[in-house]
Symmetry: C2
């Protein structure tokens, strides 16, 4: 086999995403050495027990020493502080990557700390499950999914190409987008759906109390899908909403308008308006299935 | 083997639900003869080709002749007209069942047509997929799911017991509820989730046009679950919303209030409020998993 893509990779934050990256990188033979670090000592111990990496400690800076690639896999709200902590320990030529679900705010938080001679390539793998923590990681998480790179306008082209090769090596398809476009696309396809799923599960729980009936007992199919979405990590999602505020508020306003349109149609008994929208959504779903993204 | 529960069953409307009932009834040996009828000649032909029943025609009344159990599996909006059509052809002692996702409106539409000596037992199996039509039917659809019976206050107790035995024979768990309670529970656990899923898919499509970006191309996990829900049969869902209007409008108003509460928290950067709700929803999901309904 040819030389590995990187000599040493450091994964900072060893949860579902970090753990899966480590396992997929090993599967792909992408590095000679893979280490990790997590402030959470329990996570670090679990990562060692499960042998997700060659070694996982709790000292973020120490893990980064001599690394050729550092991937920051913490919740979005912690990315800036992590970049500040590890910055003095990054070697010249090192590539720093993140996996944040929000790109503009993460770039704003991390970029000022990246030292000269180190290359920062923002990335976001569109992959995940409702589970979290190191036990949730698995090597196949990125297979056939999309990873979006949002390269900095003044970023190093060679580093971006290398990161693209890396994510493809993890099993992912790779696309490049402007960071603002990324944040708007994700606001509608991921952030708003999660917000709504969290909301409706709470609404149902309140109503269950009022009804004094076992609402959850009879959770039908639509609701089950929603609760699955609402099972995701609360800290991660709080950070996403706080850090993609403008885009989320924009799509939320559009959604509210559309929902009020349907509410009005229901109140007025306008079946044709309901049917037209339902049919259009079903057709759209078929397009998705065709695109193999459903 | 003992005598079958029914001599002849007639399934009126041979789509996903009707087809699955026929297959599950045969699997369970619940009837000597199972026939069906559907106004849609193409559906009837498909049902015959796939041998879902002993025979499927397009004459609803003819199919009901001599039947001991007639199950009306048409969209909710058609139940009243179907009851009117078949009523004169029902034999004394026959049991009529429906599978409507709304109970109060369906009872109101069907009950006046049920002749003396015929027993009407309203039912709603909480089972389905996003597919529709006779090809979508399969014998295992009801296995381990809930079917809710909403017996009429003046209904025949023996007929209700027999219908309960029937649904259990199809693989389902059975619970009895008041029809008004049923409609409120379903409004929050099924109808509202579907309305929201349809809405957000439409909102995303509009935004996709505005963004001139391939929004759907990058459909992330939350959105995929929503589009799956939004792929359900448009006619069936239009009828549900028109026929469970008050309960849907009530839970929709509660949901809007809760969503505005989160919207306000996002705008004001109140991370603790977001975290608290997200955590609560995740805990609720765990309860559901524990109940084996997720």
């Amino acid at each position: 086999m040819a030389t590995e893509l990187f000599d040493k990779i450091a994964v900072i934050g060893i949860g579902l995403i970090g753990g899966s990256i480590a396992l997929a990188a090993r599967r792909g033979g992408l590095a000679r050495q893979i280490v990790a670090a997590d402030h959470n000592a329990e996570y670090a111990a679990t990562a060692n027990r499960l042998k997700l990496v060659d070694h996982c400690g709790t000292d973020l800076a120490a893990a980064c020493a001599d690394a050729d690639l550092v991937i920051v896999c913490t919740p979005v709200g912690a990315c800036g502080a992590v970049a500040e902590t590890i910055a003095p320990h990054l070697k010249k030529g090192c590539i720093v990557c993140d996996v944040g679900s929000v790109k503009q705010a993460v770039i704003e938080a991390m970029k000022p700390h990246i030292p000269p001679g180190v290359h920062y390539v923002p990335a976001h793998p569109l992959a995940g499950t409702e589970r979290s923590g190191p036990e949730a990681g698995f090597a196949e998480l990125f297979d056939g999914r999309w990873t979006i790179l949002t390269p900095l306008p003044d970023g190093d082209a060679g580093a971006v190409d290398k990161v693209e090769t890396f994510w493809k090596g993890l099993g992912s398809n790779v696309e490049r987008l402007d960071s603002a476009d990324h944040d708007r696309v994700l606001a509608i396809t991921s952030h708003l759906p999660h917000l709504i799923a969290y909301t409706i599960v709470g609404t149902a729980d309140d109503l269950g109390g009022d009804l004094d009936a076992e609402v959850l007992h009879f959770a039908a199919s639509g609701f089950r899908d929603f609760t699955r979405v609402a099972a995701s990590d609360p800290t991660m999602w709080r950070d996403i909403f706080l850090n993609n505020r403008e885009a989320v508020l924009d799509v939320l306003a559009r959604f509210q308008e559309d929902l009020f349109y349907l509410q009005r149609a229901i109140r007025r008994g306008e079946g044709d308006k309901l049917f037209d929208l339902f049919k259009r959504s079903r057709d759209l779903r078929r397009t998705l299935v065709h695109l193999n993204q459903a």
